[in-house]
Structure formats: C-alpha cells, structure tokens
Symmetry: C2
Subunit: 336 residues, 2 copies
C-alpha cells in the first residue's frame, strides 16, 4: 500500500456544499489513516465548517478557490472562464502532480470538460467516459458511458468496452468480464446505426470477452459485467435505475401501511428488507471515475450526502493503489 495518498475534495461541489464535502472528508480521514485531504474552495467557508470537527491538522490542507461553477452553466465556457473555480483549481493540482486524485459532487458537464481539458486524456484515448457501477442481481456491473459525451462514434464505444473490461478485471477483480452492448434486440442485425457499426468492431476485439447485445430488461439480472452504450442511453439507464427503485420502494412502503395486518407484518420484515434494498442502492457504490485520463477524477452524485463523498474519497484511494489509469494506458497502448 502506498503511503500518504493525497485526495483533492471539491468543497464547493454538490447541492449541500460546503457542509457535506467537508463532513465527507472528515469521515474519510477517520476511516483511512494513510490519506491527506486537500479542501479546495472558499477558505472562509471551509474554515467555518472545519470548526465543527477535531482532526489532525497535518492531514488537512485548504487551497483557496474563489469561484464556483453552477449546475446550469454551459460547461466548456465555465471551465475556460472560471480559472479560479474549485473544479479548475482542484484539477490543476492533479495535473501538476501535487495530488493523486480529485473528487467532486459538482456539475457533471464541468467535471467532464475539465477532466479532458485540464487533466488531459491518455494518448490514444478519444473520449473519457464516466463509468459508474450499478447494482444487479449478480453484483455490481459497470455502465460505460453515462457522462455528457453525447453523440458518440463506434470507435469511442470500442474504447469504452476495452477500458471497462480493464476496470472490472483490475479494480473489481472479475476474471474475463463479460462485455455487452446495449441494444433493442439480441440479434446482431438489430439496433440503431451506432450499434450496428459498433457490434462487428467489438466482435473483432481480441482483448475483451464480448458476449453480444444486452437488452435493457436483462441488465438488472446481471447478464453482463461491462455494459457499453453511448452517454445519452447510459444516463437514461442510470437515472431510471435510481428513479424506479425509489418509486417502487415508496409504493411498497405505502402498501405496507395500508392495512392493520400489513403494518404488523412491516415491523417484522423491516430488518430483512433493509438489507436486501441496501444491495440494490445505486448510491452505495460511491462515485464514478472518468476513465482514460492522465490523472484520477471521480464524480459523485450532485445530491451526495457525506457518506457518498466519503465513499468517493476512499474509492480514489483504491483507484490510486490499483493504478487504474496507468493500466489503461499500458494495455490500450499495447493493442494500438
């Protein structure tokens, strides 16, 4: 294990900043004693939050950044103009080797743009996909790409498949991960133009275990370990997962409260049900890495709570130790 991994936390990112990112950072410091955190953002606001905690001052740095990029700002413009925003300042620390990773619950678009413009893509990588793990009946699967990289080309999807395969093998530890492309039927001739172009290219890839098309209904069953799609479709899958699980659970709860008999039953099943549902919580797998960059960038949910931020930070530690981007660099370069 590497000593003293340094993680930059965007103290201004997410719906509940700076309170939640600072709390998440404090929790991560307690959980893993081998790390240092750099809180980037408005110094006065960060200091005010830090007053709530007792912590080892040697393990917490503050780097001042005066500006904040909002969720509704056009990302390219925002990253270019707001040189002193927490996202730009934080990513520059990673770029210049002053920290190992950057984690943020801020604007997905700005993180994607910043990741590619500031940290930079590994040579040969055409696009950096955002790749969260989603729960399935068979354990987590990697959904790649869910970012704002819309209107992708076939060559992008092929790289996503290869990077996703490296991730599932080296980070999650699945031997020979099954790679499938999201499609509207199982047959090779089905699909839109993009899928029809990508399918034969994936079949030719010698370094992945391509199993063909996957229909959306089979994703939750866990039929594939790496689920390849362009970002618009990936975003729909990720968000429908969250929304449908939440709505179904609230329906189940309503049902449980509907009769006297069911209320008694609800008390008895509560602990068992809670464990089951925990397995199927999309948030519990922490943040999503931007794969294929020269440095480590992890995005957590905009509505992240302190636990999510903590998970995102600890995930960065895992990624740093497992050298995920270095492995992508080595393996993608060998093949090309």
């Amino acid at each position: 294990m590497r000593e003293n991994i340094k993680i930059v936390v965007d103290a201004m990112g997410g719906d509940f900043a700076p309170e939640v990112p600072v709390q998440g950072a404090m929790d991560a410091l307690r959980e893993n004693t081998g790390i240092t955190v750099v809180l980037v953002g408005r110094t006065d606001e960060i200091k005010k939050e830090l007053e709530k905690y007792t912590y080892d001052e040697k393990r917490v740095e503050i780097v001042h950044a005066d500006e904040v990029i909002g969720f509704d700002e056009p990302p390219v413009m925002a990253v270019r103009k707001k040189k002193n925003s927490s996202i730009v300042v934080g990513m520059n620390l990673v770029k210049h080797g002053e920290a190992d990773a950057f984690v943020s619950a801020g604007s997905t678009g700005a993180i994607l743009v910043g990741g590619q413009m500031i940290v930079g893509r590994i040579k040969g990588v055409e696009r950096a996909p955002l790749a969260p793990l989603i729960p399935t009946a068979n354990g987590p699967a990697l959904l790649i790409d869910c970012g704002a990289n819309v209107d992708a080309r076939a060559s992008h999807l092929v790289q996503f498949a290869r990077m996703g395969s490296i991730y599932m093998k080296d980070v999650v530890g699945i031997e020979n991960p099954k790679v499938a492309i999201v499609n509207i039927g199982a047959e090779e001739e089905k699909g839109n133009q993009l899928v029809k172009e990508t399918y034969p290219l994936l079949k030719e890839c010698g370094d992945i275990n391509f199993t063909g098309s996957i229909e959306a209904r089979d994703i939750p069953k866990g039929d594939a370990d790496v689920i390849v799609c362009e970002a618009f479709v990936g975003n729909v899958i990720l968000k429908l997962y969250e929304g449908l699980a939440a709505t179904l659970l609230s329906k189940v709860k309503q049902g449980l409260m509907s009769t006297f008999r069911s209320k008694i039953g609800a008390l008895l099943i509560k602990p068992a049900l809670k464990n089951t549902m925990k397995e199927f919580n999309t948030d519990d797998h922490g943040g999503a890495p931007l794969l294929g960059l020269k440095g480590l960038v992890v995005k957590t949910h905009g509505s992240s709570d302190a636990h999510d931020v903590q998970m995102g930070i600890l995930q960065c530690v895992q990624f740093t130790e497992q050298k995920i981007n270095e492995k992508i660099k080595d393996k993608l370069t060998v093949e090309e």
Copy 2:
C-alpha cells in the same frame, strides 16, 4: 357503443402460439358479448385449440394463413415475401375493411413494417410509433416511441408528441396532458443533437402542453403524461422498467424469506403488497397501439399470456369505439 366489433387475432403470434392467442380470444368473447374474433393462422392448429372450449360459433371465424414470421427474421423482407403469413393476411383484413383491428404478440419489427406497408399511415403522418402505457406513481403515462423506428428525426418526435397528446386526452381521459421529452438534464441546452433540434419545435407547438425535458429518474414519479423519445431510448426505458421491477421484486421476496421473523411478516403483508405491485405491473396495461395508421394495429408482448391477449383485444374495442386514429387524422390534418 358500436355493435359487433370484429377483431383479428394473430393465432400464430408470440412465444406460446397458438394456445395462448386462442385462449385469450375465448376469454375476450366471454368478457365482451359485442365482439366477434377472427383467428388468423394455420386452420388445423387453430381448430385443435378451439376444441378445448365451448363458444358461440357465430362469433368466431378462422381465416387460414399458412406461414409464420419468426422473431429473428428481418422484418421488411419477411413482410414482403411471406404474403401468406398470419401477420400479412390479418393486416390485409383490416386494410380492406373486413375487420376493425388486428392484434398480435408476434415479431415487433414485422408488425411495425406491416402496419406501415399494408395498413398504411394516415396522410401526413411520417412514422407510426409504438406507444405503450407504463405505470407511474401518478397513474399510467404514454411512452412514445418504443418501436423499431430507430434513428428518428426531430419532425417525427414532434408528431409523436401530438399523437400521444391526443391519445392521452381522448383514450385515457386526461385533460391537457403534460408532454415532456426524455433528456439528460432539465435545461434546454442539454441533450444530444436530436433532442436539441426537437426541443424548440415542441415549444412552438400550439396544440400540446409541452412542459420541457424529463430526466429518466422522474419518469416513475409520473411527472409527465406523454413521454416523448426516439425508439431506441424508448425501448431501453420500457425494458428496463420490466427488468428492474422483476429483479427488485425477486430481491424483496428473497429478503422476506431470509429470516424466521421476516417469513411471518411476509404472510401478513402479502395481500397488501400484491395490490401495490399490481399497480406497477407493465403488462397490465395490455398491448401498445401503433398510432397514426389508417386502421387499428395493437402489439402485445412476445411473451404474452392469455390475459395479455384478452386485454389487447378489449383494448382494440376501446380504441375502435373512441376512434383514436380518426381523431389523430382530424386533428393532425387541421394543424398542418
């Protein structure tokens, strides 16, 4: 109410043909005494199934069709070549005014192609979308398009929005239905090329209540009545709905059986939970109509059981009575 509505049932369509379509037809005859069914397919196989039932022979016709179009056949070729298939023969009955509607659990692609090539689109309609109702916390919403019409243009999506709005008002009875376009963010400038082109066109539509973008996570909440998207995305949404609901329910059941305490609780909550889950069953809303055709075509799930087929037939009766395609014709023509 119209007397003696005549519905053509594809006796060879679906995973369990001819047993299930014949049984569904028999159930529909019992449920609604004002209808006649035409079973189209291989006469000997249909007769053998019919032997299982007691029914009014005046209300059941058999029209022979020797061929069957399989799920894996390229649809355009299949519809062109298999002139004597149950789908082609059945659709021709509707085209020539010999029946009011055609319902099939067969190949979605062949039904889509046949609907457009044989029954034909209403003048001015560029594409006939497949539009199923999906369950939400606010009641059913129309997901338009889920067919095999991939790679749609902005003008198609605008027509889908208008047809969907007419459907929700006139068939489902929702005044001023909320129409939204599936997107990866709430802001107007978000989305892929197709969404960015379609959004301003929808804003200009005077005859629909366009409420902007809907993120996939808000679909199950019921934030929109008409959910507009191109077919690839619609298909992913529809199938993920099915798959995720099924996987979550089986997880809940596993959880309930995990401890002695939870098993007792499970017995107490069973009736209440069953009712709740019924509301969220994607299959329970019957089939999906192909909107914008000169005649009525309804597609039910490939794995339909007799209840689904029965629901599809009764839905055809409702559509016929409500003259859905005539209303689309009148209203779309007025505007253009």
